[in-house]
Amino acid sequence: MQNRKFLAVVTLLVFALVLSASCALAAEKVLKIGVLFPLTGPCATAGQRCVAAVETAAEVINNKHPELDVPLAKQEGILKGTKIQLVVADTQGKPDVAKSEAERLVNQEGVYTIIGSYNSSASKPASAVTERSKKLFMCGCSSSAALTDRDFKYFYRLAPTDKTESHEFVEYIGWLNKNQKAGIKTIGLIYENTEFGKHAADEGKAAAKAAGFEVVVDVPFNPGATNLNSEVQTLKAKNPDVVFGACLGGDYTLWVRTMKQMNWLPKAVLNYCTGYQDPKITQQLGADGNFFMGGTGYSPEIGAKYMKKVAAVEKIYTKKVGVPFDSDSIQEAVALFILAQAIEKAGTLDVEKVAEVLRTTTFDSPLSLGGKVAFGPGGQNMKATSIITQLHDGKYMPVYPTSYAEIKAIVPMTPWDKR
């Protein structure tokens, strides 16, 4: 008899527990956001950091953070309590996988938006899926200009494009010739033979020719190669004054080290969003990475001077990955912040209305260089800026535009044997 009573009490307790849990679940409104990045494969490092950046933004948006001076930090969730729930998926850096994972996120997981996908070659097919399904695609850092030339209605990209960076590069070379008597006449390009690399190179060549520079060598390579000997040998044989580089991850380190092995350097190297921007790669390359230059949207040095509100958010991010934000990962955090601000302003989850807000609003964005985000035709952020930095002992020192410059760039680069 006593056993029966005990059983009845336990059963009642279990029911009560299940009921209260389901009530709590029902009370918590969630908005599913797909987070689609390369978590395995050659670009996994960058992809995992991008995911951590989106998670950081979600943490700030979902919980009260009165200590942070960024939009939505002082409230809990969006639309009066809706919490953001991230559904993470892996592209492996492959376009076909990106497409099928985007389809899964949209059709099976029922996500509201996808944020992704680092590689331009992956963002392209994944965003075609969302466009067909009339879902938003927030693209943080894929830089191929072709992505915003498609006139998509639901695609929005935060980072500057390769086109913007190419123009900045040639403008800077002109400035170097004028002010530092650099004597730069010829340009070479080395790039991975992918959507990103090819478009970056096309934009680089077009900008160089338009500015009157001669492009003397053009070296595409297969990413993940066992060596880059022929590639560097080809560059060395033509000996361009400046090289534009579009090499991601491990290929960047291999390229730099092969140049060292072959005892060759051009007068200057300017990198698109590549391994150059990765603080871990920079740390690993040590002194070998010095004096290389590239477009940079964020570094702790830039943040300390021009984006002071980032530091507090960066603490949350650094706890996750052990390194500060870089130019790419911070754009992914911005992507979620901007989306949340747009939903909040629209006051609804209606995709058409949120898209309208995205198209017509200038957003405050303390995590962006310049502090503002506004989307133009094709969904490109018209306020996106990057500055040219040069690496000095692991620090990204701004060198151009002159309004940001903190040091005079070392051009020509210090030869390998004199470092």
Binding site: T40, A225, N227, Q233, G250, Q261
Partner: protein, 286 residues
């Protein structure tokens, strides 16, 4: 002319490294008729071991290759004992699929434990050293790796041709049942062959750390090239592996420089197809 010599030298050194990576695979494939799909991942494991020894204990790759070789010898032997031996005599694809599973396990284990970050040993004995002969530059890490490869391949060849163990391995490769009737413990031979195959790629991985970044994907293309070399050189043939590897290194370098860098693997695979069409057993096949 100096450019041509430089390109040839680069190709030759790359080929010598490929030969060491492929020699172990060739041995396993030739003797046991088993394709070790985890060969590239064995290289990656060896590189990680060498990297951590260098990073944590300051052991230079010029020394730590011994540990890498020994570790991957044990890994190879364990792979045979617990995975491959259970697949032999089953469906033809069983060992291939089992080692494919092992490769996925190793890759994802390293991805999980060591993150996808690229890791480079910054200060090694050979780091940045080079021999400059006029316009020709030879990187010392590459040269030393190439010379080590040649020495180890020679030792392996000597083992196979001049020792009783080598004869037992060859006998097992020719006819396992007959070898058993002659008193050869073929199971132990298989275990040793898998271990030796692992040791070769382990040594290559240990040395590679002196100039190449380590990451979980590093073995993929090396593994693929090793398969080409084995098929081109002839299954089980050490001189075949060396010849095919040097040929691949040279074609890669020459096509990459004189045609287009992006064409180098096209040229390599085209040559592989041509060799296989003309001589399906490979250049030195048994």
């Amino acid at each position: 002319m100096s450019t041509f010599v430089q390109v040839m030298l680069d190709g030759l050194l790359a080929g010598m490294l490929y030969a060491l990576v492929a020699a172990g695979l060739s041995l396993i494939w030739g003797v046991m008729d088993v394709i070790n799909f985890a060969h590239g991942e064995f290289l990656m494991v060896a590189m990680y071991l060498s990297y951590w020894l260098g990073f944590l204990a300051h052991v230079d790759p010029i020394v730590s290759w011994v540990a890498s070789g020994a570790f991957v010898f044990i890994l190879g032997a364990l792979t045979y004992r617990f995975i491959v031996s259970r697949c032999i005599g089953k469906a033809a694809m069983a060992p291939l699929l089992a080692t494919f599973g092992l490769s996925m396990f190793l890759k994802n284990f390293c991805l999980n434990r060591f993150s996808p970050n690229f890791r480079i040993l910054q200060t090694t004995v050979l780091e940045g050293k080079k021999i400059i002969l006029g316009d020709i530059v030879i990187g010392l890490p590459q040269l030393v790796t190439g010379l080590f490869s040649l020495a180890i391949l020679f030792a392996l060849y000597f083992l196979m041709k001049k020792t009783r163990l080598g004869w037992a391995i060859q006998a097992t490769a020719m006819d396992r049942e007959a070898a058993e009737l002659m008193g050869i413990n073929t199971d132990r031979i298989y275990l040793l062959v898998f271990g030796l195959g692992g040791a070769c790629v382990g040594i290559a991985g240990g040395l590679l750390t002196s100039y190449l970044a380590v990451h979980p994907e590093v073995g993929a293309l090396f593994g693929l090239i090793a398969f080409l070399i084995v098929a081109m050189g002839g299954f089980g043939s050490i001189p075949g592996a060396l010849a095919a590897a040097i040929l691949i290194g040279l074609v890669e370098a020459l096509a990459g420089f004189y045609i287009a860098p992006v064409f180098k693997y096209v040229a390599v695979f085209a040559m592989y197809l041509a060799v296989i069409m003309i001589r399906p057993k490979g250049l030195f096949g048994w």
